[in-house]
């Protein structure tokens, strides 16, 4: 390495070191700030070791007049985060399935970036597989949600059709059998119309794709497990099956040829 190269390398190392120090300083400042906040909560009790207690302390510090156990508050506006039962509310925050739906596109972009990042030959990069699996889960959630919306519209249409075709007098007659048949007829027509619609076809396609991708991912995971435990993988068994199949076909052909030869010889 000549002198010029050495200087360049040193400069690069300095820059990297400075970056690391700046990053660590920033972390320590955040940690200190967080620590101060916890102390301000009247700490010194179980919250240091018990995340649930810390959570309750945090709520008390921020909203001293709000009782997490009472109804109302967040519960009425964010039905998926049920803060009425404080402990559940806390753990739901830790469950990606509960919150990823609120920012699926942003999250998907992040995951794609990780999944499609460059590969390095000598580095194990489990995060790429995990990101793919997560993205597939998001896809499935979205597909299921869209399919659910399409079918919900079908039921709304069924209800609308029923109320148009059956007057209040019909319903007030007390003839529930006739009303039931009418409802089933309306529902059947609405569902069939929906199942032939472009919206349904698109939602169905996405559902099939997403669920099959998840299934394929499960297969990959099972293969990893099989390999780890010195067991034959699905792929290996399939490869053997293909070999046996091809051999049997060849044997069949040979037998046919033999029969032909015998037939010609007679």
């Amino acid at each position: 390495m000549d002198k010029k190269q050495q200087e360049g390398f040193d400069a690069l190392t300095d820059l990297w070191q400075q970056g690391q120090e700046a990053f660590l300083r920033a972390q320590s400042e955040i940690a200190e700030q967080f620590n101060r906040s916890l102390k301000d909560m009247g700490g010194g009790h179980s919250s240091r070791n018990d995340p649930m207690a810390a959570w309750n302390d945090l709520i008390k510090a921020w909203t001293p007049f709000w009782n997490p156990a009472s109804s109302g508050g967040f519960a009425t506006t964010t039905p998926d985060f049920d803060f009425r039962y404080g402990q559940n509310g806390f753990f739901e925050l830790l469950d990606p399935q509960k919150w990823t739906r609120y920012a699926p596109e942003q999250l998907r972009l992040m995951l794609e970036k990780i999944a499609k990042g460059p590969q390095f030959a000598d580095l194990v990069m489990p995060q790429q597989g995990a990101a793919e699996a997560w993205r597939e889960t998001l896809d499935y959630q979205q597909a299921a949600s869209e399919m659910s919306q399409v079918m919900q519209n079908a039921w709304v249409q069924a209800y609308r059709s029923f109320t148009e075709n059956y007057s209040l007098e019909d319903l007030q007659s007390g003839n529930v059998d006739e009303a039931l048949q009418g409802w089933l007829k309306s529902a059947n027509e609405a569902l069939l119309e929906t199942q032939g619609s472009d919206e349904f076809l698109e939602a169905q396609k996405q559902m099939i794709r997403a669920s099959t991708e998840i299934r394929a991912r499960q297969k990959d995971m099972a293969e990893s497990w099989s390999e780890a435990w010195q067991m034959p993988t699905r792929t290996e068994v399939d490869d053997l099956t293909l070999m046996v199949y091809q051999l049997r076909r060849e044997l069949r052909e040979v037998k046919r040829e033999l029969a032909n030869l015998k037939g010609n010889a007679k």
Binding site: Q172, S173, A187, L191, K219, R256
Partner: protein, 402 residues
Amino acid sequence: MMPPSRTPNGGRFNEVDTALEAWSIAMRQLFETGKKAVRSGGFLAEISNEDVQIAEAEYETVFEVDKVRLFHYLPTEKTNSKIPPVVICYGLFGRQTMIDLQEDRSLVRNLLAAGIDVYVVDWGNPTRADQFLNFDDYVDYYLGSCMEHVVAANGGKPVNMFGICEGGTFAVMLAAMRPEMFAGLAIAITPVDFHGDSENFWLGEGFLNSWINNLDENDIDLLVETYGMLPGAMTGAIFAALTPINSMTKYNLGIANLDGDKDAMLNFLRMEKWIADRPDHPAELARQWLNGLYRENKLVKGEFVISGKPVNLKKISCPVLNIYALQDHIIPISCSKALGDFLKPSQYEEIGFPGGHVGVFVSRKAQGVVAGGLIEWLQKDHAKTGTKSTPKRKSSKTNGKK
């Protein structure tokens, strides 16, 4: 049933009286439905799975190759030697037990009673170990071997084949590839043109066609490769989705309406037993069925290849009877009738059955229209032409031997 708007002496009911009367009518109806449900529930509580038997006609297994077996049904009447035997071929979307669901609704028993010699192909239960089996295997090898066996048993003379649903497509293909083995070909509820007249499908018709066509080739590939099969449970769920309200109400309202009637309940349970027994499709067979036929419609284009050769439907030389169901929501009529376009008018006949896909075999009406029509067709002179010996295919000697 509207509540009366006037009292017996001509005075008007007040609103409370009308409401009470309506409530009374509603409660009576609900109570009646409740009683029916209780009676049906009582029947179900008493019955066990063993009490529900299907496919009880007697047969013996006369030929086996891999998991495929060929049954020869024992005659119940003197066999009419002028009519060549019939080989019945069902598909893999259901089991061949459909044709002998119960004693009084059995195609097999109707044929036997008419003195016709009956063979039936049983595909067995393919597993993931069979995932690479394809149309070469099912049509050319398995079905071809079964036919060779029956032709040999018939003194080397051609025989009849009756193909049903997917099995009808298999039969059509084999008849085009090996016409020398066929005295006659009958098919029922069979897709040939997999796109059909999609512009004119009625509401609920052709969903299967449009749903599969909506997928890409890669979707199908990933599906069958991931599962290694097309699972029977999956196809069952798809069939159930084709008739959504019927599927949602059959175990509640449907059962209640049977009112505990023994015969009706047993009919229902036999059908349930048949539906529950749905084999898986090997992956390669499913891939060709879904991509090559449903999506790309290769059969009617003359592009579907079996054992290295394209299947040419115009090569079918025997008389053909095509039975389709006018209210078939699974196989549109236009998909079945398309076979006629490839045949001479003199060799082709049709029966349009006024019913649905499965009703072709299990409804009471079908016993006369379908079974009766098939028997009449088999008894005609043209289906008795199996008098000349069938030239053996050069390579057929060892086909199908275990």
